[in-house]
Symmetry: C2
Subunit: 403 residues, 2 copies
């Protein structure tokens, strides 16, 4: 069962479930007439009309153009999901940027914004204040398009437990009351604000908006300053017993490697994360506190790679080998259909995919190597997954917007 | 959804589902009166009576003593699962032994038998013939107790795909048509014979008959000549996309270690499996083709450990360290509530648990170390899981026994 921090899915009444069934049907098949909705759901026409009135009142559906659904009869009014009503806000706190996006109920992207920010250099409170500005801008921009943001989910690159961020070592956060912090500064919204692990939300973003749907059960690797992984099984995130599953970045790949912020040594993200790659490539200007943003830094690296720079190519090859080694161990216990390279590994794919595949193959059992594909979303998967989760929650329980 | 090799769960008719609901209720709460069954299931008393007649006809339930279920009314006839009717046969092919057990419908163990057999030294056909003798003995012994074995599941230490064993390197099996082989030699049974991976069945055995139920989501480690792992999530086995999940034994823990039958190098089972431990402990008599069985060999090791033998203790400590290192990586991606040491690690627990825990703690993220518990089933988990799966299948679809 999909959960958002601190807010388990409710068991609804019959009417609440029926509203969700009807909205799901309209979302999947709209525009669709009342007659067909009755036929598909098994509800009487009166029930369909009553439920539609409730959904329309909440701004979730609207009547559109006439549609003709078969060879017989006259065309009927087509009901669709209201793309100009409630909307979902996705937010992301990452180590070197903040991001926001807004999705309408039809899951179209209506707003996106990313700002570089060295969140290691400031307190959780200051970071939350920065996110607050981004969130208010997003809500205002959505309102200008006639959209009403009803809920938000925040992606955080760390281990979460209930309302708190237990560890986000790359942010320097330890036992931070994230939910309360965010609640205090975000714009007032109808639904409570959720928060979730960045790697899990990136996997959901990939599923809903990226390469995901045809991939079966896949492991999505989020390459940022840290490295996380999210496993999608049967269309849901596999979270593990404490939500710690997929901590790929802290697999030890270099026993004598550098110390990690997690307390370990030779962790994957210390040798194949964004900063490790940039440093190995000679892009030493990119350090904590520098003004170069993540996109600029990776763009600089890509320029070097394109120019055939040997040091840059070697840096990416080594990172790819280490990433592939960690993935080989992961694949032995998780057995995904596909591995998706996301985050910074997406723009680096042309150079990093081959060494990843070679190491994966080298460490694979009986040649059972899952295909490695490249995320079309790159660093946007998590914030899209966060906004998508708001939309999922509305679809799962539209009655929430009535209360 | 739980699957058995080559035989997905069927979607039943309403009557078939109702039979399963009623049998489940009787199994969980029996002895129970017809009146209470109607109250619990929401079926009418007539429906309950009709369904009970069908279940009784198939030998699945029987009337027992009078039971008094509340303060009011007279006692009624208590219906129970029939412990003297259909039964499930569990079979196991392992590298150095064959095993069988029979469970009645109430999941009580009614028969168990283990014979030492060096299955590496003989062909799949000869191994199947050996298993056939064990299976016929088990069916006969069950019949003497009034039980009728209706189905069997065979545990095999290898990677299975559909009807075939793709790889069972410790047995020397590659692309063996196991289902057909077994069908030909096993006694004729009402339900088709299933087969499944030994580590997965051992995890189910642990769940149903061992330490499992209170452990939440757990990772069960099967230590034999090979080392496998099975993850239980929400009461089901997590199998991965191709059923390869949990291949713990082939995690590389010693980059310069010995070659493995899988084609890799330094795999965990080459340094912490039964033969590696025995050899390191100086018990060199135990080699392929020797007449010493697995129980005798491990008993000899336990005697050495009890006597304080330094070489034996060092051998077990090193194996424990390597096992803990592999488990630390596994825990980072799977995040189980608990780790269960089974198979040979169970009798060795007094000496191996501490080094396992130390290595696990050393490699753990943020001290998130799952507790390590010891299986009470030792090497019997897989064969019990296999028999238990037959009983589960009968409970899930009792109508199968009517056809």
């Amino acid at each position: 069962m999909l959960r958002v921090g601190g807010e388990p899915m409710r068991h609804g009444t019959m009417r609440e479930r029926n509203l969700a069934v009807l909205l799901g049907e309209i979302s999947a098949h709209g525009p669709v007439t009342r007659a067909r909705l009755a036929a598909h759901t098994g509800f009487t026409k009166t029930t369909v009309s009553n439920l539609l009135a409730v959904l329309a009142e909440a701004g979730l559906v609207r009547d559109g153009d006439l549609v003709h659904e078969g060879e017989r009869g006259r065309p009927g009014v087509g009901v669709t999901v209201n793309g100009e009503g409630p909307a979902g806000l996705g937010l992301e706190i990452n180590v070197d940027y903040l991001a926001a996006c807004v999705l309408d109920l039809g899951r179209r992207i209506r707003y996106r914004h990313l700002v570089t920010a060295d969140n290691r250099a400031r307190s959780p409170e200051d970071t939350a204040a920065g996110l607050s500005r981004l969130a208010h801008q997003a809500v205002d921009a959505a309102a200008e398009q006639g959209l009403s943001v009803t809920g938000a989910v925040v992606a955080i690159p760390g281990v979460l437990a209930g309302e708190r961020v237990v560890h986000a070592p790359n942010l320097g956060w330890h036992d931070v009351p994230a939910a309360a912090l965010l609640r205090d500064v975000l714009p007032p919204l109808l639904l409570p604000v959720g928060h979730d692990n960045e790697a899990n939300l990136a996997a959901l973003g990939e599923l809903w908006f990226g390469a995901g749907r045809p991939l079966g059960d896949f492991l999505h690797v989020s390459g940022e300053i840290g490295i996380g992984a999210g496993l999608i099984v049967g269309g849901q995130v596999f979270r593990g017993a404490h939500g710690f599953a997929g901590e790929l970045g802290h697999m030890a790949v270099a026993p004598d490697g550098p110390e990690c912020t997690c307390g370990g040594r030779g962790c994957l993200e210390r040798v194949a994360g964004q900063e490790a790659i940039l440093r190995a490539a000679g892009l030493t200007g990119v350090t904590p506190g520098s003004s170069a943003g993540p996109r600029e830094s990776i763009s600089a690296l890509v320029r070097l790679l394109r120019s055939g720079d040997a040091q840059a190519r070697e840096a990416v090859a080594v990172a790819g080998r280490d990433l592939g080694t960690a993935l080989a161990a992961t694949v032995k216990v998780l057995d995904p259909d596909t591995v998706v390279l996301g985050g910074i590994f997406s723009p680096l794919a042309r150079w990093i995919r081959t060494p990843v595949e070679a190491a994966l193959e080298n460490g694979a059992l009986y040649g059972a190597v899952p295909p490695v594909v490249v995320s079309p979303l790159a660093g946007e998967a998590a914030v899209l997954g966060a906004a998508g989760l708001v939309i999922e929650r509305i679809h799962a329980d539209p009655a929430r917007l009535l209360r």
